[in-house]
């Protein structure tokens, strides 16, 4: 594992013990769900995204590592605040415990509120509504302008690492916001377009015509 490469964006995930932070990251990085041991201190993953390298830091939720979380947050460009959709206390911790930790992160750090374990959520007995989550997400990101929220949605996701729901979408939201790809880069690195758009090509036409 080479960690000497310079990361273009540091993403950190915070949240109470056993809300599923490591599972969420493993689902995104490795594409599978597996039982996780509790994280010791912190863990680290590298993810290339387009031309960029992204460092994803997984922290330990255990209270005794609180001091370290603060340290690992330093110079983070984005923070994922994870809570268990089924346990309201984990949602409360987000602003009670982790809000202050994020002071160490970059000033323009994007905060994403993420509810986990949506696969075992019972809608009828649900305590934390999606509306509350969205509200917290917007409160945490005061400089996110209204127009962007309307276009891309609020930085709030309800995910399931087990069923792979909303996990990739959530990470793409972060990267697209923090390291926007130009359309040209998007084509080159994402490369999912199988058809050729003739009209798009023709925009280059006038430049070429100047031959004789």
């Amino acid at each position: 594992m080479s960690v000497k490469k310079k990361a273009d964006l540091k993403v950190i995930i915070l949240g109470d013990y056993d809300v599923g932070k490591t599972s969420l990251i493993c689902r995104y990085i490795n594409g599978k769900f597996q039982k996780q041991e509790s994280t010791v201190g912190a863990a680290f993953f590298f993810k290339p995204w387009g031309p960029y390298n992204i460092a994803v830091w997984d922290t330990a939720g255990d209270e005794r590592y609180s001091g370290l979380s603060h340290f690992y947050c330093r110079s983070a460009g984005a923070a994922i605040l994870a809570f268990d959709l089924n346990i309201p206390k984990t949602f409360e911790s987000l602003w009670a415990r982790f809000g202050s930790i994020l002071d160490a992160a970059n000033e323009d750090c994007l905060k994403i509120v993420v509810g986990t374990k949506s696969d075992v959520l019972d809608e009828s007995t649900r305590d934390v509504s999606a509306e509350e989550g969205r509200k917290l997400a917007l409160e945490l990101n005061p400089d996110l302008d209204q127009a962007y929220v309307e276009m891309a949605g609020a930085p709030y996701f309800e995910t399931s690492a087990l069923k792979d729901e909303n996990v990739t979408e959530m990470f793409e939201y972060i990267f697209q916001r923090c390291l926007p790809l130009s359309p040209e880069q998007h084509n080159r690195f994402k490369g999912k377009k199988s058809t050729i758009d003739l009209l798009e090509d023709s925009t280059e036409g006038p430049n070429r015509k100047k031959c004789c």
Binding site: A7, V40, A42, G67
Partner: protein, 860 residues
């Protein structure tokens, strides 16, 4: 966990101290070259010199000799001690005072170079100033501040200081950044800007440790026995490391972090943050790395941690089949100062060993990848498969061996599925590398192994291999192919080696016997092979055999010969035709080939073919119940031949055709004899095919002058209008059609004479109009032509006159432009541009001999 990265070797077994009291203990030490300095708990500094020796068995031992000692009088332990060899000084911290001692006689330097109230100090290994005769140190003071000093032989010059919120317990320094452990937390202090960055809190039960591991990176001891990396900027770039509890000191030699606690020395790799080795070591008090060497001290003894050579560590990992770890370690070995070439060689060898381990574990993807990356000698792999190397190749596996595998039988332990898996791997690997640089020089080995594999399990691939320039020799391949019943492939192998006779023997045996080889394409294959065979003697041996089996296919031996084949006596058309007499269908095909394709113009062949066609037709006519289509086809073939060729003997055919009343054929034959009247009478009277009659005129007038053409049409018309023919009224309509046909040409005067008096003008109006118009048109065209010719004539005359008008005066002084001599004859040549020469000097009347100008004939 079983990597043995280090070995513990005693250096100084029992430190001989000044006062031999039991409580005297080592507190700290420094090693500088051969000098070891020890600070004790009872205020002594002891100096040893050590000698490192490499024993013949590869072990390292140390011999130590005491050089001297010094009592520092204050009865307090020596807390820290560092040698500064550039200054010939040692820095000693004792009783909160930092002082300098002479490195050799240990006498104090009394120039006032000391700092008081010091908690701890450390040397800046990445100093801001680069004076080689000074050392930069960082000092933590009791009164909540940190200072930087430059130390010279006899002075300590204060550079800067920064006030910190609490007293520092221990410090590390790199450049202008000081990493300090305060009572409650770690922080990074920028000595330039005095900016303090808090890192993380220190638990009460953890001893703070700061170890600089590289430029701008420190390793700190964190809560819950974590080792945490932090850069000068206060962030972490590596995940933390799980350490043991109660660590007292840490040192680092790439890529290992060595940590000391009360019972163990533990070794972690910085590459994957995992623990690699644990060495039991009771009551350790100090560990340090000095110029890449690690020394560790207990209360009274000093040991060295001697690194086990990389290769040994790697071999140990490989022996445990821990391939990935071994490769990771090997990749990092180039950081140990090995030369590039040596490293590449070593790394490739390790990759190969790893590859064979993966291979024996049946991890074929990894094995194949490693084999390719390490550019393995492909024979090493093939030699694992019994009998797969060509018998002619004498290969000895590399020494020392890359693996302990005898062969795949040993690996598969007579498990058939496993054997097949190994074979499938070899097949895919060889196919993969075939033609790449890996197979370079081993084409024979690779192709023979592939041939044998294919013969055993993938017969359908044999033909592809054999047609693609295989490097297989004959040797044991023949036996192998025969044993597996791949006879067609055997034939192909012979063919590739130019052994056509043996190849044919194999194939004919395959045809004649009932041996089933599904890959054999059958007789056609043999025929095509014979068709391109250059050895004509051999060819004749098999022609009989083939023709007996299939005439029409067999004749292809002669008709499908390569275009650029040189003519040979044995394959002359006469010889072949003579030979083919026995095979009527073959001879027709062959003659057709000679006439229509090779366009041979020999009367004999043309007549022969025509007769054969005719015979075929007659035979069909004579047999009852012949289908009309069949007969039509045969006759049209004959007619085509008769029409197309001019070389056959017409009379011969005509006789037979007349006999059988084959009118259409007769018509063509009369045409060939220029007896158009007879031909046309047959067409009109017998066959009543007026279209064919007109077509006859058209065909026979092709390429002839207009008069002959007119004559032909006239003959046809006179046949139509023949007053002696009793049913001539039926021919009025075709006659009119002919007259009105735009293609037909007539001599109009003769037509008018021929036409019966009784025909009305109305009937003939169309023809007459056309005739008059044509006549008028011709007349006018002729006049135009005449006038144009006259005009041209005038123009030529004018030019001629213009050219002659200028007079040329010839005198004695006039010389030829070419030879420059005088003119003796009255004749001379004048070029249009005025150049005058002798007649014999004018070589070319179109090119001026002086200027080279070209005069074209028509240009005026």
């Amino acid at each position: 966990m079983s990597v043995k990265a280090f070995e513990l070797v005693p250096v100084i077994e029992r430190v001989k101290l000044m006062s031999d009291k039991a409580k005297t203990q080592i507190e700290c030490l420094d090693v500088c070259g051969k000098n070891v300095y020890i600070g004790t708990s009872d205020c002594f500094v002891v100096h040893y010199s050590i000698e490192e020796r490499l024993q013949p068995n590869g072990r390292v031992t140390f011999a130590a000799e005491k050089q001297g000692h010094k009592y520092l009088v204050v009865k307090k332990p020596v807390v820290q001690l560092r040698a500064a060899s550039a200054l010939n000084r040692i820095m000693v911290l004792c009783d909160t005072t930092l002082t300098l001692l002479n490195m050799f006689d240990l006498e104090p330097i009394v120039t006032g170079a000391k700092v008081k109230n010091v908690v701890c100090f450390c040397i800046n290994e990445n100093p801001v100033r680069t004076n080689p005769f000074s050392v930069e140190i960082c000092v933590a003071l009791k009164r909540k501040s940190i200072q930087l000093y430059t130390v010279t032989e006899d002075r300590m010059m204060h550079l800067r200081d920064v006030t910190i919120p609490e007293q520092a317990v221990t410090v590390g320094v790199d450049g202008v950044t000081v990493c300090a452990a305060l009572n409650s937390q770690y922080c990074m202090v920028n000595m330039d800007s005095s900016h303090i960055t808090d890192l993380f809190p220190i638990d009460d039960n953890v001893q703070p440790i700061i170890k600089r591991i590289s430029k701008e990176e420190f390793l700190l001891s964190g809560p819950s026995a974590l080792g945490i990396f932090a850069t000068s900027a206060g962030v972490s770039q590596r995940p933390p490391m799980q350490w043991s509890d109660g660590l007292t000191a840490v040192s680092f030699v790439h890529p290992y972090i060595v940590a000391l606690n009360d019972e163990f020395i533990t070794v972690h790799s910085i590459l994957d943050q995992q623990q690699k080795q644990a060495i039991p070591f009771m009551s350790g008090v100090y560990i340090g790395d000095f110029d890449g060497r690690i020394f560790v001290a207990s209360g009274r003894e000093i040991y060295s941690l001697v690194p086990i050579p990389f290769e040994k560590q790697i071999q140990a990992l490989l022996a445990d089949k821990r391939v990935q770890e071994a490769l990771d370690l090997a990749k990092n070995a180039n950081k140990t100062g090995m030369s590039r070439d040596k490293f590449v060689k070593m790394f490739k060898r390790i990759q190969q060993q790893a590859a064979f381990i993966e291979f024996s574990e049946k991890n074929f993807d990894e094995a194949g990848q490693l084999f390719k990356e390490s550019a393995i000698d492909v024979r090493e792999i093939i030699s694992l498969y019994p009998n797969y190397l060509p018998a002619s190749v004498n290969f000895i596996r590399s020494v020392p061996p890359l693996h302990e595998i005898a062969d795949i039988n040993q690996l598969s332990r007579s498990d058939e599925a496993a054997r097949e898996a190994f074979k499938a791997f070899l097949k895919e690997f060889l196919e993969d590398i075939r033609g790449t640089s890996l197979a370079y020089g081993y084409k024979l080995e690779v192709d023979v192994a592939l041939l044998k594999l294919y013969a055993e399990s993938w017969p359908d691939k044999l033909s592809e291999l054999l047609s693609d320039d295989p490097g297989c020799d004959l040797g044991d391949c023949i036996v192998w192919l025969e044993r597996h019943g791949r006879f067609h492939a055997l034939g192909q192998l012979y063919q590739h080696h130019g052994e056509s006779e043996k190849a044919l023997a194999v194939w004919t045996r395959l045809m004649d016997s009932n041996v089933d080889d599904p890959s054999f394409p059958g007789l056609e294959f043999i025929v095509l092979f014979l068709a391109s065979l250059t050895n004509h003697e051999l060819l004749w041996k098999y022609v009989d055999w083939v023709l007996e089996k299939d005439e029409e296919l067999g004749v292809k031996i002669f008709t499908e010969r390569p275009a650029n084949e040189p003519q040979s006596e044995r394959l002359r058309p006469e010889t072949v035709v003579d030979y083919l007499h026995r095979f009527p269908r073959a001879v027709i095909t062959y003659l057709e080939y000679l006439i229509f394709q090779r366009r041979l113009e020999k009367e004999k062949y043309h007549t022969h073919l025509a007769v054969l066609y005719l015979e075929a037709v007659i035979k069909l006519m004579d047999t009852n119940g012949t289908k009309k289509e069949e007969l039509d086809i045969a006759r049209s073939k004959l007619r085509h031949m008769l029409q197309m060729s001019n070389l056959y003997r017409v009379q011969l055919i005509l006789g037979k055709a007349k006999e059988k009343e084959m009118h259409a054929e007769c018509a063509i034959l009369y045409g060939k004899l220029e007896e158009h009247d007879k031909a046309l009478r047959i067409l009109v009277h017998k066959l009543k095919d007026f279209g064919a009659a007109e077509n006859y005129c058209q065909v026979n007038s092709r390429g002839k002058d207009p008069a002959a053409c007119k004559r032909l049409y006239h003959i046809l018309l006179s046949v139509y209008l023949d007053p002696t023919y009793e049913r001539r009224d039926t021919l009025v309509a075709p006659a009119m059609a002919l007259l009105n046909n735009a293609d037909a040409e007539f001599d109009n005067v003769k037509v008018l004479q021929l036409l019966p008096e009784s025909w009305s003008v109305g009937l003939l109006a169309q023809f007459l109009t056309r005739a008059v118009r044509t006549s008028m048109h011709e007349s006018r065209m002729t006049r135009i032509e005449r006038m144009m010719a006259r005009g041209e004539n005038l123009q030529v005359k004018q030019t001629f006159i213009e050219m002659q008008r200028d007079c040329i005066v010839m005198g004695e002084d006039r010389a030829c432009a070419v030879c420059n001599r005088a003119f003796n004859d009255p004749t001379f040549v004048r070029y249009p541009n005025g150049v005058i020469t002798h007649v014999h000097c004018a070589k070319n009347k179109y090119i001026c001999p002086v200027s080279g100008k070209l005069f074209s004939a028509g240009k005026r």
